[in-house]
Symmetry: C2
Subunit: 274 residues, 2 copies
DNA sequence: TGAGTTCATCTCGTTATGAGAAGAACGAAA
DNA sequence: TTTCGTTCTTCTCATAACGAGATGAACTCA
């Protein structure tokens, strides 16, 4: 990993010139997902400046690497960009309960017309949040229904889709959705889309929105209660029934499991196997 | 993502100065795993130069970003570094049959004493390969038994371990092993550790080496044959029995499944759940 | 030749899953 | 207020999957 062998470490550090290397920039981009009106939504910003001005993009920006500003870690950069470009406050505010994990890194030459840019993508699961306010370089910011973006399996957008995504963000978003679908199978992260207390029908609505298919209510109920540590009862009952009738569902909160065992497998997996 | 709004994209590109940004460098590091003598091994190089001279590290190096050399994509950089530092030839040679996937990106400030370095880690599964030859900046290169590195769950090495790992490579390797264990559960990638044709006992040995526990031979056999697309029969039989006796096992090759359904879950999962 | 090992298959009891049904609780419309 | 349709929650039942153990044949090594 070192450019050339040297005898002494301090001598090496003194003579080291970072600028002698190829110029690269590192950004973070965030795929922030939430459930609104029973449908999966992603947080997007409309780009104010070039390149791709006017198009929609994932919130993100350059990592403060330590030159003029203080160096920040990658997850911190993700939270900062999310806060800056959307007006949502950071860890102690609206973004306090979100789950954040690294999704992947995208660095193909030419993915950004300005220069070689390596983008570290993060994936966030959030409970229902207020509408964002555009800030930073963003001309606009909004929660957008994922279904309205016309994404294809290959990471493109279908022709005729009104909201076009900049850069390779359609691919990043597609990968993020795929990851979210997988994570719901074997981790309890569906609870990250809910409030602190939730009902089993609410939890089922999360699965149905992310997976895009209806689940058998009875079997789902049995399964959630039988997996150890998935949810724990609060003893209380929701104060209202469903909006179209039905009894008041009981309230639960997230349990202490980090993995679901056995997993909650989605029904229509057969097609994707080959 | 743009530094400041501008009216025209070409005007923007002309005036853009990459050097105005914080200096960052991007590297790739590869966690290359294989099975030798029934035990899981990882490819390591001994560092010739500073920093961490003399310590062991994952093979890796700077990404050619496009300044003086031609820009290369991240996976290409991973293959190139693997080839350069170990003497193993590239895609058409010994490295032709390896599975390569992105593992994660490590960019904490201070992880490299020279400057801010963002490292994109890749994970490789390889069948048994020849001993590597040191090249590039590496003073030595070898397949090292993972068990001999004294890795802890928290990504450190136990005190007293002779081969110390440079940088945060103990953490990267720990994450890679965790990922490998997971992948064996729900993908047919265990076959990537085998040759083109293999027996079911050989495949079981892969699982036992990666998971570090013995499996029930009969149930494993039933399971592998019952999962559609995992393996397909060649009709042939191995020309030798096991080294300690037993009949000649039949030969199989990898099937066309990309996902195992139902998955092959490892037995002792209960402990890791909470 | 004999002893010990391993492959491959089978059995059996337990657990998990999919599909459907039923009673009770509720909202909304008549 | 009554009625009707909806939803929560719990059951049942048939099927599939799994863990543990057993068996006989095939092979290596002493």
């Amino acid at each position: 990993m070192s450019p050339e062998p040297m005898r002494d470490e301090s001598e090496f550090l003194a003579s080291y010139d970072p600028r002698a290397y190829d110029p690269v920039a590192v950004t973070v981009d965030v795929v922030a997902l939430t459930i609104r009106d029973g449908a999966l939504h992603v947080l997007l910003v409309r780009r104010g400046g070039a390149p791709y001005a006017g198009m929609w993009a994932l919130p993100g920006g350059f990592v403060h690497a330590g030159g003029r500003r203080e160096a920040e870690d990658l997850p911190d950069a993700a939270v900062r960009e999310l806060a800056e470009e959307t007006g949502l406050s950071g860890k102690d505010g609206a973004l306090g309960r979100v789950h954040l994990e690294q999704l992947g890194t995208y660095g193909a030459p030419g993915r950004d017309p300005r220069m070689r840019i390596i983008s570290v993508a993060y994936l966030a699961f959030a409970p229902e949040l207020p509408d964002p306010e555009a800030g930073g370089d963003a001309a606009d910011a909004a929660w957008v229904a994922v279904d309205a973006l016309g994404l294809t399996e290959s990471g493109d957008q279908r022709p005729g889709t009104t909201r076009r995504l900049a850069f390779d963000h359609a691919r990043i978003l597609t990968d993020g959705l795929e990851r979210a679908r997988d994570k719901l199978e074997y981790t309890p992260l569906a609870t990250a889309f809910c409030g602190a207390e939730f009902t089993i029908p609410e939890l089922r609505a999360v699965y149905e929105a992310v997976w895009g298919e209806e689940l058998h209510a009875g079997n789902f109920h049995r399964k959630v209660l039988s997996v150890p540590g998935f949810v724990e009862s609060t003893g209380a009952t929701s104060d209202k029934g469903g909006r179209r009738g039905g009894p008041r569902p009981r309230l639960y909160r997230a349990g202490d499991a980090r993995l679901l065992h056995p997993a909650l497998l989605r029904p229509s997996r057969e097609e994707e196997i080959r």
